[in-house]
Structures are given as C-alpha cells and as structure tokens.
C-alpha cells in the first residue's frame, strides 16, 4: 500500500509541475535538422490526423523534400468558403528562428485543438492553414553544420546553387510599374505565365516549386518568415524609381499596414517603440509601430512577397523575427513566447474584408480595410457586376455575385428582339 500511495503522491506532484508549465510543457524548444523537422511534422500529423496532412511541393536542389503541413478540418481539399492561408519560413537557410517557430506553431495548434481551445478550433474549421517550415532546407543544413555558437551572417543563406531565393522570383513589380504608367493590369499577372515560368532556367527548384504552389492554391493571406531584424514588412519591396530607399505603396497600402500591425501588435519586442536597433548603425527610420514599407526600408527586387501579391493577389508580408539570424538554441523558447500570439492572430486576419460566392464559378476573398467600397466582380465573357459594400474590421462581409455571362445576355436580348419583332409583324401584318 505504501508504494502505491507514494506513487500517487509522485503522480500528483508531476501533475502540478506540468500544469504549472502550461501547454508549453508539451513542446520541446530546440533546433530541428531536416530529419528532425520531418519527424516533428509527422508527429503532429500522428497526433492530429483528422485535421492535418503533410505534403510536399517539390524537392530542393539537394533532394530534400519541401514539406508542408496543412491544418484544417478536412485536410486535402479546398472547401468552398474556406480561405487558404500560408506561412513560409527559412527561405534564407541561415535565418532559423522562423523555421522553428512554425514547427512549434503546428504542435501548438494541434495541442490546443485537442484541448478544446475554441479560438483554435474555429480557426482550424474555417481556414486552411499551410505551414512550410523551410523553403531552403539545404541552406539550413549548411548553416547549422557550422561549428560553434556564432553563425556567419551569410553562410547558408542562399540555396545549394548559391541562389538567393528572395531575389529569384520573377520581377513583377517592374511590370506593374510600367503598367501603372502606361496602362495595364495591376494584378493576377501570373495567368499567362505558367509556361514562361516552366521554361525559365534561372529559377531555382525551390522557387519554381513555390510558384507552382501559388498557382495551384488560391492563397488569400500569407507571411514570409525571416531573421536579422525585428519588424513586419509589407509591399512593395521594390522601389518605383529604383532608388534604395523609397516608400513604395501598393493599391492596398491601407490594408497592408493593418495586416502588418495585426502581427506586430502582439509581439512585445517588435512593437516596442523604444527598442534599440539590432545593430548600432542600422537605419530603422522607416519602422513605425513595428511595421515598415518594404521599399522604404530598402529595395528588394525579385522577392517572394511582391510576387505573391502581384501574381495571384495573395497578400503577403515579410516578418523579420530576430536580430540574430541563427541565435542560440536556448533563446528559442523566448522567441516562441514573443511570437505565438502574433502568429495566431495573423492567421485570423484572413477572415476580414469581403468574401462570397459566385455561382458556378466558386468562391472568392478580398482583404479590405474597414470602409465603404464598390466591389466589382467581372470575368471575361461576363458582365461586370458592381455592388456597394460597407466593410467592417472583422469578420468578413459576405457579398455574393451572380455573374451573367455576356453570351447569356446577348441571347436574352436577341430573344427579346425576336419577340418584339414577332409582335410588331403580327400587328402590322408584315
């Protein structure tokens, strides 16, 4: 009996310990190499197989799978009315914090889901969330293999071919700027580019894989995790004039600012107005409330963020999460704590603006900041329909469109004409 009692006591003590640690007790904060990353994702999947699915969008140059874990109530398919969201990290292999945070986030959401966290459950049931912890696993391995604690600023940044993936995307900004001046589309530029993309030899395999991914899934909102500074960065990244510093606003500037703030506000370090710059001579004059316009900070051509926005209207921002690109492992827990709420809150932003259905054609989403808008839905061969909408902060306002195809309208008109003619001829004895 004694032993049993003592066991019970011990058990009780352990319970107390665990509950004190909270849910964090179930996450282990350490760096994951490729195998460990795979294992971690598989474990999340095994724990939550009904709401998760692992897939790969392709292979890195050295053959590592570009793994994605999706989390939603019916993984594997796009459900009408359920917006698509993604987080991508570690496109610079030596910027390691984001990679880890996404692994922790996946575990966290799975745990919270099973523990009955209503917010998480709602989010998972109404969104399709994709996590890609590492877009550049080759680079990471290189960076992580460095001996010692201090990691070089550049080693492992680019992919195995030496390509900086965040300069490797087709430069749609330039096209946009031209169109702005000369007239032309300012969105969905990718539609006719599939072939061009496939044939482009300058694209790294990782870049190509992501572009295909973007073309396949109608992402609505996204974020791109980096390191080396602490700020939430939004489009455009490339300056219009080509200068190194220039505020380059997109048509959705207001919305982007709102999105970026939605992240930074929950990150105490990011939103700290008195935070000293990461390095003494850093120019963070463009940072405000923890956010910055890309171009205003420094011009980045060929980046993934703008590509997302311009090619498929996926709103993406870039999150810089740590002054130190590859910090010490024992700091990971604190980075998690700084970013956890922001990461979750940012996903929730996808449920803003307007959304709705267009019969026969499917669903749509459009992120919009609060205000009054005229929303026009148009499609080739269809008549444009314009509706006035008052958009609040949240949740998304539902606006459905019934598009009438041009052909249909012409048909109708013709029939009407025929009837009229018939009537006329009968009356007038033609």
């Amino acid at each position: 009996m004694k032993h049993f009692t003592s066991l019970v006591l011990f058990g009780a003590a352990v319970v107390a310990l665990v509950s004190a640690a909270g849910s964090e007790g179930e996450i282990s904060f350490e760096y994951h190499r490729y195998e460990e990353l795979r294992k971690a994702l598989v474990s999340v999947w095994l724990q939550c197989p009904t709401i998760t699915r692992i897939y790969t969008i392709g292979e890195s140059f050295e053959g590592r799978e570009l793994l994605v874990l999706e989390m939603t109530d019916n993984p594997g398919t796009h459900e009408p009315g359920e917006p698509e969201f993604k987080y991508i990290a570690n496109m610079h292999g030596n910027e390691a914090v984001g990679r880890e945070l996404l692994i922790y986030l996946a575990q966290y959401l799975c745990n919270q889901y099973q523990q009955g966290n209503e917010t998480v459950i709602d989010l998972v049931h109404n969104t399709r969330i994709h996590f890609m912890p590492s877009m550049n696993p080759d680079g990471f391995e290189k960076a992580a293999s460095q001996p010692g604690e201090i990691k070089d600023w550049f080693v492992g940044r680019s992919n195995a071919q030496g390509v900086d993936l965040n300069r490797n995307f087709p430069d749609l900004d330039r096209i946009i700027y031209i169109n702005e001046r000369e007239g032309g589309a300012n969105n969905h530029l990718l539609q006719n580019m599939k072939k061009a993309v496939d044939e482009n030899t300058k694209l790294a395999p990782e870049t190509k894989a992501v572009i295909h991914w973007i073309m396949d899934i109608p992402f609505v909102l996204s974020a791109n995790l980096h390191g080396g500074d602490v700020v939430a960065n939004y489009p455009y990244d490339e300056t219009r004039t080509g200068s190194t510093h220039e505020y380059s606003s997109s048509p959705d500037d207001v919305m982007f600012k709102s999105l970026a703030r939605a992240y930074s506000i929950y990150n105490p370090v990011m939103s700290d107005p008195n935070r000293a710059p990461c390095r003494k001579n850093d120019d963070d004059s463009s940072f405000k409330d923890g956010i910055t316009n890309g171009g205003a900070w420094y011009s980045v051509p060929g980046g993934m963020q703008d590509f997302n926005y311009l090619s498929s209207n996926c709103f993406e921002i870039t999150l810089e999460l740590s002054c130190d690109k590859f910090p010490n492992e024992d700091t990971l827990k604190s980075y998690w704590e700084q970013n956890r709420n922001s990461l979750v809150n940012y996903i929730e932003q996808v449920h803003r603006g307007v959304k709705g259905f267009v019969p026969k054609d499917g669903d749509y989403w459009r992120l919009l900041a609060p205000g009054n808008y005229k929303v026009a839905a148009s499609a080739p061969g269809y008549l444009t329909v314009i509706k006035k909408v008052a958009v609040s902060y949240s949740p998304a306002t539902r606006v459905d469109f019934e598009l009438e195809s041009l052909m249909e309208r012409k048909e109708e008109e013709r029939e009407e004409l025929m009837d009229w003619w018939k009537m006329m001829s009968e009356t007038l004895n033609f």
């Binding site: 004694k2 058990g11 724990q47 197989p49 790969t56």
Partner: protein, 559 residues
C-alpha cells in the same frame, strides 16, 4: 425428462468416476476401429430420445471397457474426457429439446462418444453464431452444416453458447472443459485457431463476469483444501473419491449457488467435479511429466489437461500450503512490488472489489511501464540485443503505450517524455506518444459528443493508407512507416474500452501472440521465490480461464 437425463447421466458418471482423471487429455486420434464403426452412423432423422440414449449408453459402455484405466495419458483418460465433454456439450444444450437432424462429424472421426441425448447437442459450439453479436465475426462458422437449435427452432446464439461454456467451467471449476471442447473442434477442423482464440476470449470474458458477479458473495479467505461442499442439486456426490488438496477454491463459488444468477444455467446434472480431480501426489507426478511437454494448446500434441500450467504445478508441488491469508495482506504484498505475475495470480484466483482491481491495474500498468521503459530505450525498434524481439518490442511498446493510456485515463499524471526528442531512440516513442494523444483525444471527443466509440479499425485503415502515400512521396521513410503501421496494428488488437480487469486478459493475449512456441526452461527457484503465496491461492490461479495468461506468466517469471 431432464431429471431422467440426470439420472442416467449420473449413473454413468458413477461408473466413470473411478477412471476419470483430473487430467483432461486432448483426444488423440487413436480411437479403435471398433469405435469408429459405432460412430459412423448417418442420421437422417432424429430418432426417439430413448433410442438415442440407449445407443449412447451402449456406446459409452463399449468405449469404457475398451479403454481401461486412466492412470496414464492414455486413451482411457481420453475416453473419460470424451464422456466429460459429452456431459458438457449435453448440458450445454440442456433445456433445448431440438429434434433436428444433425450429423456428427465428430463421430466419423471416431473420437467422439455420441451423446445419448439429442445428437444436435454434441455439435460444435461455434455453429450458428450470430455474426452480428458483439461485433464478432462468426461468419466463418456458418459454413458448418449442423447447428444447435433451440426448442422453438431458433439457433443457439453465440452468446448462449459462450455463456454455457463459461457456466460449465465455472461450475466445474475446470478450464479443461473448454479446452477439451475446443481441442476437439480444432482437431476436427471445425474451427480455426483464430476462431478458437476468439472463442476463448469470449468465454474468458463471460467467466470473468461470472466470477465478478459472485465476488461479492464470496470471501477471499475461504480457500480451503479438501472442501467437500457439494451442490444441492447434485444427487449423488457421496462417492467422490480422490478429493485432494487441489480442491477448488471454487467451492467458494458454489457457496451462493445462484441458479438465480444464472438463469440460463439449467445444468442440474452437474458432473461431479470431485470426480475429475485426483490426488495431489498423483496429480503432481502426472503434471510433472506433462510439464515436460511444454505449453502447447493444440490437441494434436496429446498433452494432458494441465499442460497449460506446468510451471505452476511445479510450483505447487514445492510450495507449502500456508492456508488462507487475508486480503489485506495480499494487497500489501502485491503493492510491495511483487512482480507482475503475482498480481495476475492473485487476480486470477480471487474475488476482489472492482475498485481494488482498478488500483491494482494501475499499479501493474506502472510496473510494466517501468519494466518496458528500458526496452524502449535502445534506438532500434527491432530490439537491441539481437534476439527476435521484433514482436516483443511491438507488444512491449504497445503495452507501454497502453500503460500510458491507463495512466492518462486514471489521472492526468504526465510522466511521458516531451513529444519531440532529438535523439534517435526517441523517434518511435515520439510517434507512440503522438498516436496515444490522438487516441486519447478521439475517445474524449467522442464521449463528449455522445458518439459511439471511434472506430479503431477504420482509423487504422486510414492511417495505413496515409502512411503508404507518405512513404511513396518521400515524406516518411519506409521503416518509420512500418513502425507507425505496427503501432496501429497492435492497437487494433486491443479493445481500448475494456474494463481494467479485462485489459489484463487482453494484454495477455497480446503478449501471448508474441510468444514463441517453444518454452524455455524455467528457473524453478526463481519461480518459487517470486510466488510467495499459499498453495491454494496458486491453485486458484490455476483456474484462470486462459492458457494465455499462464504463458505470459511463465514468461514473466523468466524475465
């Protein structure tokens, strides 16, 4: 009618008394040709009862005279066993007066002494199991041509049959009943091994229920040898001979003979259980001899009845009979860290409160987990020491998993490791942990939503499918995939929503399935040391209705 049966039967039992042995040998295919001819009758229609009885009687007499004494593992014993089986089967169907035509393939085999009652009753039990009952797939059974029928022509359901067997075992306090029946069925190819296992499991469950039911009315300390308590209904017990110290504590069972409790138990012409028992010494000798033959269940080996418990009987002979001990003391001993086996021994033989059982279960779980924790330490799932531990690890890992489930179910004690270990050995455990959490959540979730228990086999199928597709895509490695599949398979073998007591059964089955056939030599000293309980207790344990448990127990001792 019934009483007539009783009368006749008891009469023959008396005759058979002298030659009946405690050992229920498996029938060996050594029946004389004479018997064969006797048995080879084609029944095209049910003959008048009297005629059947008469014939059966004559056959029995013939068999008896032909067989001779039973002191060795001989045909004699076998024939007596046949008679007993007869009784069993007859009594099984007692109360049912079907007049249907049945063919006794058993007879053809020349093994079976035809029942003087309805030939339908001596039919295999597995027949006509309702495949929708208890989720058991008895569909295979329906290939058989014969069937039990009840009075009104409806079939005996699986439940009835199982219940009857369990009752019989309970009454007679001899699992040999079951073994003989099953062995015959197996031998005749009427059921497969796995069906036999299933049947065994079902019967074990039913038996546990019986024991539990009676538990309240019985006291633990009433374990006396040489208890000659007899049942009221039994007309003639006087001539019981060879009462021995191997007297069942089951006497206790009979104390509150509840015909009420077992309404469907109309076994009135109880075979004199004493008749089946023999002197301790004799038994020991026999057992020792039999013990050499290992632990095989299959009838073909021609082993004695107590083949299942050779080690226990060895133990028995070396133990002093210390008389009865209070429950509390045993509890203490158990909690003091006696090995797993002793707990099972205790559990097996005793009526204890379910709450106590629950605690015990948790204790066992704990101990097992600790024990297995080492096994899971090494990196490879296939075992570190090169032995064929593949299955072992599977079951051990699975058992460890079960421990964790138990623990979690009992309380929120979290003794598990963090789910993401960076070292290789952690991998299987990590996956195990993740799967466990999923199962946990599923159970809780379904409970909350008021749904049925989740479908484990569906989940397993789904996961297997996913695993395959992931392997194909390069998301997980083949060996990882195999590990995951194996975890789910072993999970499937375990019914998660069972009572703690049954979990032990189930666990035993699981372990049993991983045992290799050959039993290594057991360290007798070690066994003796590990079992500190009185002989009667151990004897009681011997009545645990499953050879499975014993194999596991003996294995445990070895470990």
């Amino acid at each position: 009618m019934a009483s007539k049966y009783v009368g006749l039967f008891v009469l023959f039992q008396l005759l058979a008394l002298n030659v009946l042995s405690q050992i229920s040998a498996f029938p060996t295919p050594t029946a004389s040709t004479d018997d064969k001819t006797v048995y080879n009758r084609q029944l095209t229609e049910e003959r008048p009862l009297q005629e059947q009885i008469a014939e059966a009687d004559s056959v029995k007499a013939a068999v008896q005279s032909a067989e001779g004494k039973r002191s060795t593992a001989s045909k004699g014993a076998e024939s007596e066993q046949d008679l007993d089986d007869f009784t069993v089967l007859k009594s099984l169907a007692d109360g049912q007066k079907s007049k249907e035509t049945t063919e006794l393939p058993l007879k053809k085999e020349g093994q079976y002494v035809p029942d003087e009652s309805d030939s339908t009753k001596s039919r295999r039990l597995t027949e006509d199991y309702d495949s929708t009952k208890n989720g058991m797939d008895y569909g295979k059974y329906q290939d058989d041509t014969e069937s039990f029928r009840q009075v009104d022509g409806t079939s005996l359901t699986a439940e009835d049959i199982v219940q009857k067997i369990a009752n019989k075992i309970y009454e007679e306090d001899d699992r040999g009943v079951f073994d003989r029946i099953v062995s015959k069925l197996l031998k005749l190819g009427l059921i497969t091994d796995s069906q036999a296992d299933t049947l065994e499991y079902q019967v074990a469950e039913a038996l546990q229920d019986l024991i539990t039911k009676n538990a309240k009315n019985n006291e633990i300390d009433d374990v006396e040898s040489n208890d000659e308590e007899t049942r009221g209904e039994q007309e003639d017990q006087g001539s019981d001979t060879n009462k021995d110290t191997w007297e069942p504590p089951s006497r206790r069972y009979n104390k509150d003979e509840d015909d009420d409790e077992e309404n469907d138990d109309e076994i009135e012409d109880e075979v004199d259980r004493d008749a089946e028992e023999e002197g301790d010494d004799k038994a020991n000798k026999t057992w020792d001899k039999d013990a050499e033959e290992g632990n095989e269940v299959r009838p073909e080996d021609g082993l004695q009845d107590l083949q299942y418990f050779p080690n226990f009987y060895r133990l028995l002979s070396s133990l002093d009979s210390a008389g009865v001990v209070e429950c509390e003391t045993y509890t203490d001993r158990l909690m003091s860290g006696a090995p797993y086996v002793t707990r099972l021994v205790f559990l097996a033989g005793h009526h204890i409160s379910s709450q106590w059982k629950e605690n015990l279960d948790a204790m066992i779980a704990m101990q097992t987990k600790n024990k297995l924790g080492k096994a899971l330490g090494p990196p490879d799932f296939t075992g570190p020491n090169g032995k064929n531990l593949d299955e072992d690890d599977n079951t051990k890992a699975e058992a460890a998993k079960m421990q964790k489930e138990y623990e979690n179910l009992k309380d929120s004690t979290k003794e598990e490791q963090p789910s993401t270990e960076t070292n290789q050995p952690g991998k299987s455990e990590t996956y195990l942990e993740a799967i466990r959490k999923n199962i946990e959540w599923l159970k809780k979730h379904n409970k909350e939503e008021g749904k049925e228990d989740y479908d484990l086999s569906k989940l397993k199928d789904f996961m297997d499918q996913q695993v395959d597709s992931y392997i194909e895509k390069g998301i997980i490695a083949k060996d990882e995939g195999d590990t995951i599949k194996r975890i789910y398979s072993s999970l499937e073998a375990v019914t998660l929503a069972v009572l703690p007591y049954e979990r032990i059964l189930v666990r035993a089955r699981l372990w049993d399935s991983s045992l290799s056939d050959s039993d290594p030599d057991l360290d007798r000293e070690k066994m003796v040391d590990s079992l500190q309980y009185s002989k009667p207790l151990v004897q009681a344990a011997g009545r645990f209705p499953s050879p499975v448990i014993f194999r596991m127990l003996t294995r445990e001792i070895r470990d």
